[in-house]
């Protein structure tokens, strides 16, 4: 192998060390090919690239969380999460996925930090509780918040997976006894990309990682730090039930005639009109369905503090488009209180950009 002496070992070497057979390796290569939209003829080349190219190390730490982000990630079927885990990136430290445990694992973490100082990506699942000096979440005998700060210090960038890391989620819901705190309030000196959702869509997670590795930078973020290409549209904008909303056709009771007809779920408490996510375009399970398609309203799991917004079945009442939500395109039209050409054009352009199709279809 030509790059054996390079500082960062290749992906294949790591896989072999972990006892993965050549046969499985080749299978991962073919999965990667399909994830990138490449034909089978590229498989040998991918295999070769993985044998020779240095990999990007990722450290994946878990705080207070339920592992649904990991579950979503590894079960992502189409741009196969598996192959992203095992080929495009390499998880040097992940409680859930790594083979080692105990002291050995903690030593591996230290080693990774030292070896790839400033070069690794830190993925955070869950959040640190700060109350009682962080004693509500202990990893390797120490509070998780200490581990988080230690690892983040030398990271190139931080990915906050899920509603927990991005906003706090259920453990931060009132009265928040453990004082669970989202990552961006603890790590303040690193670029943080938030990928909210409970869990986030697998294709979104892999899409974010692929983008970062390919272009070596963060994708365009909105004001809340979410990748605009996945969180720029509301569920409501692209919902297939939208024509029923426009036409005032609503489900009035569960299982009434209108529910059978697939009418709009707004009156049943659907949070689609205030939720920014890609569910209605990307959908779940290889684009099979999403909550609204299965007949239940959106609960708004990718929005800040969704546990404290009342019942999932309360009808939305006071909705501001770009005022309160403070998303990427805060226009402040109402605040400005003027009808001005420039303000109108700005509002129009941001609405158009929001409405544009962001996921490119790759042929082949």
């Amino acid at each position: 192998m030509s790059l054996v002496e390079s500082q960062i070992e290749t992906f294949y070497e790591v896989m072999r060390k972990q006892g993965i057979t050549r046969r499985s390796f080749m299978k991962y290569c073919s999965l990667t090919a399909s994830a990138l939209g490449l034909g089978p003829s590229f498989v040998p080349q991918i295999a070769h690239a993985m044998e020779t190219k240095p990999r990007t190390p990722v450290i994946w730490v878990n705080g207070l969380e339920c592992t649904c982000c990991s579950e979503s990630f590894i079960r992502g079927a189409h741009p196969l999460a598996k192959d992203v885990v095992l080929s495009m990136i390499s998880l040097d430290y992940s409680h859930t996925l790594m083979a080692s445990a105990g002291h050995h694992a903690e030593a591996a973490l230290e080693e990774t930090i030292e070896k790839y100082k400033g070069n690794y990506i830190l993925a955070v699942e869950g959040n640190p509780p700060l109350n009682e000096d962080g004693m509500f979440c202990i990893v390797g005998g120490k509070p998780f918040v200490e581990q988080l700060k230690r690892v983040a210090k030398d990271a190139k960038a931080v990915i906050a997976w899920g509603a927990c890391a991005s906003y706090g989620c259920v453990q931060a819901a009132a009265p928040n006894p453990t004082q669970a705190t989202p990552v961006h309030k603890v790590i303040t000196d690193k670029p943080i990309i938030k990928v909210p959702g409970c869990p986030p869509i697998a294709e979104v997670m892999t899409g974010v990682i692929t983008y970062m590795l390919t272009f070596d930078r963060l994708p365009e973020l909105d004001r809340q730090g979410r990748p605009a290409m996945f969180y720029g549209q509301r569920i409501h904008d692209k919902c297939y039930r939208r024509p029923h909303f426009d036409a005032g056709q609503f489900v009035e009771h569960w299982d009434d005639e209108n529910a059978r007809k697939g009418y709009c779920l707004y009156k049943m408490g659907c949070k689609g009109p205030t939720t920014y996510n890609a569910c209605s375009t990307v959908r779940w399970n290889e684009g099979t369905s999403f909550p609204i398609q299965s007949g239940h309203g959106c609960i708004g799991c990718s929005e800040d503090g969704f546990w404290d917004q009342g019942s999932f079945y309360d009808r939305l009442t006071n909705i501001k488009q770009f005022g309160i939500e403070a998303n990427a395109d805060q226009v402040g039209m109402a605040a400005a209180g003027v009808v001005g050409g420039a303000v109108a054009v700005h509002a129009a352009v941001s609405a158009l950009k929001r409405a544009q199709k962001k996921n490119e279809k790759v042929e082949g």
Binding site: Y211, G248, L352
Partner: protein, 261 residues
């Protein structure tokens, strides 16, 4: 302007070049196909292209006092107007029947169709414009031909500013239409005027290529992956054998003369 005015009063966007106009005072017509002999206006000159100081050849009434007698160039416009009228009537009815008391409806607004015009896209010609309602603002395309789609199905249409997903629906009064959501709910609009202004801006910004947002760039990611893989393949390709200088046996003559002869 009083409501019984009747004359066109300089509303040049309302009449086509083929419009036949007549003076509202003495009923003298102006027909573009004949021109005006008294002012040496050549046949084929549209009413709007007449000189500013042109006045009625019969009674000297100013140009603005003419009214439309017939406008054959406007059949298209009349059709668009009929379409938008049906659209507005349809959604006004929805507003009164079903939406009126919902808390998310912005009571400062009313249903209005803005900027509807001919959209000559090769794949789907139709009428394109912005529909404002107290609970949404949508880009709406009314196709010329009925579409074989079910309500809720999506269709991607491309404009200079990017690709937009439209959702199909059909209603008795409006017929088939495709809608792309721009705003909903409409809580941030304080007046109808503001909404209309934004709608007009949408129609012009839609056709500008600088308003393209960043996509997930999967096409580019793929191109890069292919590129880097070909690179690897090239590196891997058998190194071509080192060039061995070919030894040409010198001729007897060259040998004897040391290459001089």
């Amino acid at each position: 302007m009083t409501s019984f005015e009747g004359s066109y009063l300089g509303a040049s966007d309302k009449i086509s070049p083929r419009a036949i106009m007549e003076c509202k005072i003495c009923w003298t017509p102006y027909d573009p196909s004949e021109g005006d002999d008294s002012r040496q206006v050549l046949p084929g000159t549209p009413f709007l292209a007449l000189p500013d100081d042109w006045s009625c050849p019969g009674c000297n009434a100013p140009k603005a006092q003419f009214l439309v007698r017939e406008d054959p160039g406007n059949a298209e416009e009349a059709r668009i107007e009929a379409q938008t009228r049906a659209l507005v009537a349809d959604f006004t009815e929805i507003f009164h029947a079903k939406m009126r008391d919902l808390p998310m409806v912005n009571q400062a607004l009313h249903v209005q169709a803005v900027g509807f015009r001919r959209h000559e896209a090769p794949e789907l010609p139709g009428t394109l414009g912005v529909l404002i309602a107290p609970w949404f603002m949508n880009l709406v395309l009314i196709p010329d031909q009925p579409l074989a789609l079910k309500p809720g199905e999506k269709l991607t249409l491309t404009f200079p500013s990017g690709a937009y997903e439209f959702i199909f629906n059909t209603r008795e009064q409006t017929g088939d239409y495709l809608a792309c959501a721009l705003f909903s709910p409409m809580g941030d609009f304080t007046s109808q005027l503001q909404a209309v202004e934004v709608a007009h801006a949408v129609m012009s910004e839609l056709m500008k290529s600088e308003n393209r947002a960043e996509t997930d760039r999967s096409a580019e990611i793929r191109a890069r992956a292919e590129g880097s893989l070909t690179e690897v393949a090239q590196d891997e390709a058998e190194p071509s054998p080192p060039e061995v200088p070919t030894l040409i046996a010198p001729t007897r003559r060259a040998l004897l003369t040391g290459g001089q002869g």
